[in-house]
Amino acid sequence: MAKVEDELGRTALDEEVEPTAAAEIAAPPEILAESLGEYIRAWGRRVAGGESGALPVVLALVIIAVAFEIWTQGLFLSPQNLVNLFIESMVFMTLGMAEIFVLLLGEIDLSAGYVLAVAAGIAGLLVQKPGPNWPWWLAIITALVCSGVTGAVWGLLVSKLHLPSFVVTLAGLLIMWGVMLVILGNAGVVSIASRILVNQHVLYQIVWGNIPPVAGWVGLAVLSLLFAGITISRDFGRRRKGLVAPPPGLTILKIAFFVAAGIAVVAVCNVNRGSSLVVLAGVPWVVPIVLVVLLLWVVLLQRTKFGRYVYAIGGNPDAARRAGISLATVRTWAFALAGVTAGFSGILYLSWQGGTSTNVNGGQYVLYGVAAAVIGGTSLFGGRGKIAQAVVGGLVIGAIYNGLYLQGVQVQWQLIATGLVLVGAVLVDTLSRRGTLSGSATRI
């Protein structure tokens, strides 16, 4: 035994603390900080350490806005153009949300662009008169259900037969392209621009209808109170239970930021962008509608078992399997929800364009959707990302698209510019992760 004791001499080494410098960088600052100042310092350390979070994309958005504002001599940030920008970005945002469902699993859905096109076609055809003349809500539900079933089929092929999602959804892209051509038929065009047919007009008004300015302010006030109430009561609840809560200064800052952003959007939208004779003002209906979808998906992904399992599978499928999670079920549902969300973007597209045609470039749209998610900060390797990032990413793409269009720059340069921004986003993501200890960068 004497020999063993000698071997154990290493226990006499001096007591040293666990190395936590790396942990301080990798841990979100709000869980460590006890005051606002400390939070800002922790955040600064994180940015310096390579975990920059949303900072690069917000900076990119500011740079793009300033550059276009100068280049277009004040046209870009005019209220009229900003509203256009919001509207154009909605399709990119919702496609980005669709992609995030599958990107979180480490999968991809290349069919989303043509699922959008087919959903737009279905909803548009169902409100034709002469024709089916279905109620608008039934047309929407039908289009969404079809999109969801399509996504579920890809999901089943991926999860049950273990086919790679890249190939399955590439086939899906071709199939849905064909389906779009079939349902639109020889005419190849569907219009919903009628002002007399109620069902068409309601669909049209989703994007082009505006909330009366006063109602916009009231809505914002209600929303702000709800947000503040929920945030504060949650903090208080955690403190009462003896749990760590974010510093009060941070909570107040968060609420102030929310209210300020809301005021900015409503104020911009409430400026008359018509003429002195025909007043055109108010927040487009599509803004709160997309906000509701965003909220639904945030709750689903952050606050339910399903969402937790999506992240777990993206982070470590083996751990998820050993925890008794049914990987096939979660994957199939995620693909189905991606399909529903892509179908929803199809409804927005139909409304935005006042119809649809066989010219919809679904291949380009899906790439914009993936780009929106990645630019927003979602990882292509699974497990990292948030649904709200699609909103910022979609705005970036919408801004490039809109700004170059304002300058009369032709489409080839729009494509090149968007591609460069995408490469920049992936570069920032990869470089920042190389600088940190999080191991997910190496897992594909």
């Binding site: 035994m1 020999k3 063993v4 071997e7 154990l8 290493r10 226990t11 080494l13 007591e15 040293e16 603390v17 666990e18 190395p19 936590t20 790396a22 942990a23 301080e24 960088i25 990798a26 841990a27 979100p28 869980i31 460590l32 609840g237 955690r238 239970k241 003896g242 749990l243 760590v244 709750v299 606050r303 339910t304 078992k305 937790r308 992240y311 777990a312 993206g314 982070g315 470590n316 083996d318 751990a319 998820a320 050993r322 925890a323 008794g324 999670i325 497990g383 990292r384 200890l437 999080s438 191991g439 997910s440």
Partner: protein, 269 residues
């Protein structure tokens, strides 16, 4: 569920290493004549092994000795071809990891099975989340996780809301162990818990193993590292080419004869 680890009333029998022979109650888990073969390869020959409660049993053996197969038989991943497994003296059939978990057997594998992108609480409750009206009850899970870590004297993590990716190797091991013992488990199998850990972190994990024992759990540690084994184990068993060649209180062994048992299957006392 709320108090995951038994309180201070649990017997602290760490020093009484030789008490496994006490006739009063049968060991927590007993293997009797367990055989397992895969095709022509006989992985285990008539293995008898006792894993008593409130003691740390170390399972030693060279590569290919059958340690992993034995662990998997207890965990329900493999079923023995012959022989029986007794749980508190009664024969049981463990047909899968679920059966093992229902009995109170948890395994911490070498790769730990943690999701790097989730935080400590999320990992500890993965697959068994608490839900309130359809939504995750984060506060309740956070408190329970914090209590478990406190009972296990795991105090080095700064926040249980930090992602597992930001933890050191020893902290990750501690989270994996805490995850295993949260569910009223009675027997914990640890596969190479100190492999790839530094000196300080190894000490922390060994301390954690002692804490588990002091809480009355049966612990089986599979390890190549005999230094760690002698530091933490109350009992020791050696496998050699699928046979158990030695088993007994740790005081009956020393480093030299354990190495002999592991390499040749016999030793001179």
């Amino acid at each position: 569920m709320m108090s995951p680890v038994p309180g201070p009333e649990a017997p602290a029998t760490g020093a009484a290493a030789a008490s496994s022979l006490s006739p009063a109650s049968p060991p927590l888990l007993q293997l009797r004549g367990v055989d397992k073969h895969f095709g022509a390869v006989q992985a285990l020959y008539h293995v008898d092994l006792d894993l008593p409660a409130a003691q740390v049993t170390a399972l030693c053996g060279d590569n290919g000795a059958g340690k992993s197969v034995l662990t998997r038989c207890i965990a329900g991943i493999h079923q023995p071809d012959h022989g029986e497994i007794l749980w508190n003296g009664k024969p049981v059939h463990i047909r899968g990891p679920r059966d093992a978990a229902d009995l109170g057997i948890e395994v911490v594998y070498q790769d730990l099975a943690l999701a790097d992108n989730l935080d400590i609480v999320q990992n500890m409750f993965l697959g068994r989340e608490r839900v309130h009206r359809g939504l995750l009850n984060e506060d309740s899970m956070e408190r329970a996780a914090a209590e478990t870590l406190r009972n296990l004297k795991v105090t080095t993590v700064r926040s249980i809301r930090q992602p597992v990716a930001s933890l050191s190797g020893g902290q990750r091991q501690a989270v994996a162990v805490a995850k295993a013992v949260m569910w009223n488990s009675k027997l914990v199998l640890l596969d190479e818990p100190t492999a790839a850990l530094g000196v300080v972190q190894t000490r922390m994990v060994l301390e954690l193993v002692r804490t588990l024992r002091d809480h009355g759990l049966g612990v089986m540690v599979i390890s190549h590292n005999l230094n760690d084994v002698f530091q933490v184990a109350d009992r020791l068993a050696v496998l050699h080419l699928g046979r158990k060649v030695a088993e007994g209180p740790v005081a009956d062994f020393d480093l030299q004869n354990v190495v002999q048992y592991m390499t040749t299957g016999s030793a001179h006392r």
